[in-house]
């Protein structure tokens, strides 16, 4: 593998982590969804580059799925949901931005240390990809944990799934059918969660999951 292809793959995967950090930083829902769309675009680019350098044509389909569903369909859908729910002005982080960013840096460090240590004999590109993918997964989880709003938890979940796709494409030989089924399950999860959001909203006049806890009579 020559230096340039490696560098470009490295750059794209690294940008994905960077976009994950951007997602951590957003405290408005529209901004968060826009960043998520950017996340999906970078993922699509990264997957397409992997398809090119691995000469694996089915990965182009994966890239196309990522681009169509995650960069267009789901963000547009989420935009509509937010508009219909009228929650686009909400500020909804549960933990402050500063500590979250610090925690994110810690998680990226952890995944780097871990992945580079446990995969010494793997292909260098796959190693880097796996390390980045683990960082993205952990950052996605962090988004889910630090947000109060159900919509942004969905976004965190989707970005976590982007990390899985990155890991899958970095490892050579992942069958296409697996990726397609993962993509579809994400789509179905999105639909189900969307339906639930409206149900929650109907019942509680809010999609703040804290309302559920109030309903159960629990302290937060």
């Amino acid at each position: 593998m020559n230096g340039l292809t490696f560098d470009i793959a490295h750059l794209l995967a690294g940008s994905l982590v960077l976009v994950s950090f951007m997602m951590l930083y957003q405290d408005r829902l529209f901004a968060l969804i826009n960043v998520f769309a950017l996340h999906a675009v970078v993922l699509a680019l990264s997957v397409a580059w992997q398809a090119y350098i691995q000469d694996a044509h089915h990965l182009y389909i994966t890239a196309a799925i990522a681009l169509v569903f995650k960069a267009i369909v789901i963000p547009v859908g989420l935009h509509r949901i937010i508009q219909r729910l009228g929650i686009h002005r909400d500020i909804e982080t549960a933990v402050g931005i500063g500590p979250t960013m610090l925690a994110g840096i810690g998680l990226v460090t952890l995944s780097m240390v871990l992945m580079l240590r446990v995969t010494p004999e793997a292909d260098p590109l796959a190693r880097e990809d796996l390390a980045f993918a683990l960082s993205i997964i952990l950052l996605g989880l962090l988004v889910m944990v630090t947000r109060r709003n159900a919509v942004s938890q969905v976004v965190g979940f989707m970005s976590l799934e982007n990390g899985l796709v990155l890991a899958a494409t970095g490892a050579k030989g992942m069958p296409l059918v697996v990726e397609i089924s993962v993509a579809f399950s994400i789509l179905i999860a999105f639909i189900v969660i969307g339906v639930f959001l409206f149900r929650i909203r109907e019942r509680f006049d809010s999609v703040d999951v804290g309302a559920l806890d109030d309903y159960r009579g629990e302290r937060r």
């Binding site: 549960a94 998680l107 952890l110 995944s111 240390v113 871990l114 240590r117 446990v118 952990l138 989880l141 962090l142 889910m144 944990v145 947000r147 109060r148 938890q153 999951v209 804290g210 559920l212 806890d213 159960r216 629990e218 937060r220």
Partner: protein, 672 residues
């Protein structure tokens, strides 16, 4: 030609079919007779098959692999000399119990709670003995435990039975967990769960020690080793009496089978200290079990505690066999091992007999409390006679079978000076002393059990209305009484038929006994010791007959009832008789302070007050208080603390999962 093992597996299958049948027709009036009749027939068929196998080629091994269970192992079953012996024990027990239940089962008020589980229980015990891979073994073991649990819970309306069932369930799952871990260690990293592979592998000393400890926990908790015995005196008496007999007489033997199978067969060469551990636990179990039994006034609980004592005796013999085997003394090891197996067989006879007797008393009077019985010998002469045979056998009095096996155990103990390790040289005689103490206390205990229950005068009106039990029950008890006598006067035949087992597991056998003149048994050499049960029996019979003849011939024939001196009390009511508690008082005074932390206080009324003075007795179950209460307290505390985890917000649950993941990753990253 169908193999023996395939034929034998038809037995459990037939038991299971009977269980399913009983589940469907269990409420009909004829179901009791049908189910127990079928169980009787199947048990006899299994006995015949095993007997045929033993008569033909006792050392032969027969295996089968069924396409069930773990995909890469299959469900393996195997018949070898050890499992053949235990099959005899299990199915002999199944036969007499089913025979007994044909009569006893008719008194059951809710037969549909007992009938489906009874054949299932027998099937489980048969399968445990035949299993040849860890998966089948554990599955059968759990099946056996659950079936017996259902039988313990048969009379679940009683609060005490529910508690017994709960404790039994907890202890059974704990035991199975220990067994699971033991098999995991034996299977090793390769994870080969077939017994063949475990037998071939040689675990390291650390793993072998851990397996021994886990087997003592797992099989020991089922068998009733102190301090894991606490469930046994609760659960065994809670079941209907014929099931109590099966649990106490047979299921504890299946647990011993599990211990022998793993420790003697799969684990390879033992270390000498493993014998020490087993010896000490066995000795402690024997003494504490019989002390508890002595203090008991509930007849069935007394029998359950006495089971613990006998398990202790068996484990002492097994520990000796381990010690001798580790020191390459195969003939002594074979002697100790034979003593253990012989006692297993004997205990299955007389403990079943005694539980049947207790069941007969329960049917006739509705009482288990000895303090409300007494004088039953007049009402139930046949039951009291066979119960007496059981008592004499379990008290290890010649010429009955208990003496023969305990005598062999003591012969093995007397071999201990030849052991090289000083630890063993010192400990084995000490354990021998404990065994002797336990034997003497057992005799006292069964003098009490028989005397208080059957002799003296009736302590309550229920006894006056008691009548002899049905013929099925009497026939079952008579069969067992005859077996006790036969095994006692002809021990040589039993010992010789045990030789294939010792040859397989120890590598040596006791000398051929049946060739000795006059059917004596000679464990080592004529010059050291020998015992002839037949001659003792003949001598006792002749001398007793002579004495009876002389008394009846030369003394007056008339039966006289004279006034007894009533210690100054004018009217000696039945309540003034010796009671079970007062009989045990001297022994409680001697051992009670350390074994039960017993304290007696006299509450004197104030001068001039009219109420009587009272003797207050305060006893503690030390094992319960030192082992179980702290553990259950800790669990209660922890669950109380963790309870609020049930009511977290979604985000907190996510956070917990996330933190857990991060911690795991951190551990992985920092792992050297």
């Amino acid at each position: 030609m169908i193999s023996t093992i395939a034929l034998l597996l038809c037995g459990p299958a037939a038991f299971l079919a009977t269980a399913i049948l009983a589940g469907t027709v269990g409420r009909r009036a004829s179901a009791t007779r049908l189910v127990y009749g079928a169980a009787l027939a199947i048990s006899i068929a299994l006995l015949v098959i095993v007997a045929g196998h033993l008569a033909g080629s006792p050392g032969a091994v027969s295996t089968i692999t069924l396409p069930l269970g773990l995909p890469w192992t299959g469900a393996r079953f195997r018949l070898d000399s050890l499992s053949a012996f235990f099959l005899v024990v299990v199915n002999l027990g199944g036969t007499v119990t089913s025979l007994y239940a044909l009569g006893y089962g008719r008194h059951e008020l809710q037969p549909h709670r007992v009938l489906p589980f009874y054949p299932a229980f027998l099937a489980g015990m048969n399968l445990v003995v035949l299993a040849d891979d860890a998966f089948s073994f554990l599955l059968s073991w759990e099946f056996m435990s659950l079936a017996s649990w259902a039988l313990v819970m048969a009379h679940h309306r009683d609060e005490a039975n529910r508690r017994a069932g709960y404790i039994y369930l907890v202890m059974a799952s704990f035991g199975t967990l220990a067994l699971l871990l033991a098999f995991g260690l034996l299977a090793g990293p390769a994870g080969n769960y077939a017994f063949d592979a475990m037998r071939a592998a040689e675990p390291g000393p650390l793993a072998a020690g851990a397996v021994l400890a886990l087997m003592l926990l797992g099989a020991g908790s089922k068998a009733g080793l102190v301090p894991l015995h606490a469930w046994l005196p609760l659960a065994h008496p809670a079941a209907p009496s014929h099931v109590s007999a099966l649990m106490s007489g047979i299921m504890t033997k299946v647990a011993i089978y599990g211990f022998i199978r793993v420790v003697f067969d799969l684990l390879g060469a033992p270390a000498w200290w493993s014998g020490v551990v087993v010896l000490l636990i066995g000795g402690l179990t024997a003494v504490l079990g019989i002390l508890h039994a002595l203090m008991e006034k509930d007849l069935k609980r007394l029998l359950a505690y006495s089971t613990i004592e006998n398990i202790g005796v068996v484990f002492v013999s097994l520990g000796l066999a381990l010690a001798f085997k580790a020191n390459a003394m195969p003939s002594a090891a074979a002697l100790a091992f034979t003593a253990a197996l012989f006692h297993v067989l004997n205990h299955s006879f007389f403990k079943s007999l005694l539980f049947f007797g207790a069941g007969a008393v329960l049917t006739a009077t509705g009482e288990r409390d000895m303090e409300r019985l007494g004088g039953l010998i007049h009402r139930m002469p046949l039951t009291s006679f066979v119960f007496l045979v059981g008592c004499v056998s379990i008290s290890a009095l010649p010429p009955f079978n208990g003496f023969a096996s305990e005598w062999l155990a003591f012969q093995a103990i007397l071999q201990s000076p030849d052991l090289p390790q000083w630890g063993l040289k010192v400990i084995v005689p000490a354990v021998g002393g404990m065994l002797a103490l336990a034997a003497a206390l057992a005799a006292a205990c069964f003098v009490k059990a028989f005397g208080i229950t059957f002799l003296g005068r009736a302590r309550s009106t229920v006894v006056e209305e008691a009548h002899e039990v049905d013929r099925w029950s009497l026939a079952a008890m008579a069969v067992l009484a005859v077996l006790c006598l036969l095994a006692g006067i002809l021990p040589g035949f039993v010992i010789d038929s045990l030789s294939p087992v010792t040859l397989t597991l120890i590598g040596d056998r006791m000398p051929v006994q049946t060739a000795d003149p006059w059917l004596s048994i000679v464990p080592i050499a004529e010059s050291r010791s020998s015992y002839n049960g037949l001659l003792v029996f003949v001598f006792i019979t002749i001398s007793a007959s002579l004495a009876a003849f002389v008394i009846h011939r030369f003394a007056s024939h008339a039966l006289r009832r004279g006034p007894a001196w009533g210690c100054g009390f004018a009217d000696a009511a039945p309540a003034a008789q010796y009671t079970a508690v007062s009989f045990a008082q001297p022994i409680r005074r001697v051992f009670g302070s350390f074994a039960f932390r017993a304290r007696e206080t006299v509450e004197m009324p104030a001068p001039g007050a009219l109420e009587p003075a009272r003797l207050k007795l305060d006893m503690h179950d030390v094992a319960w208080e030192t082992f179980y209460q702290p553990i259950s307290g800790a669990i209660d505390y922890a669950t109380e603390r963790l309870n609020h985890l049930q009511f977290l917000t979604i985000r907190r649950y996510l956070t917990l999962v996330f933190l857990y993941l991060v911690i795991l990753l951190l551990v992985l990253a920092l792992w050297p």
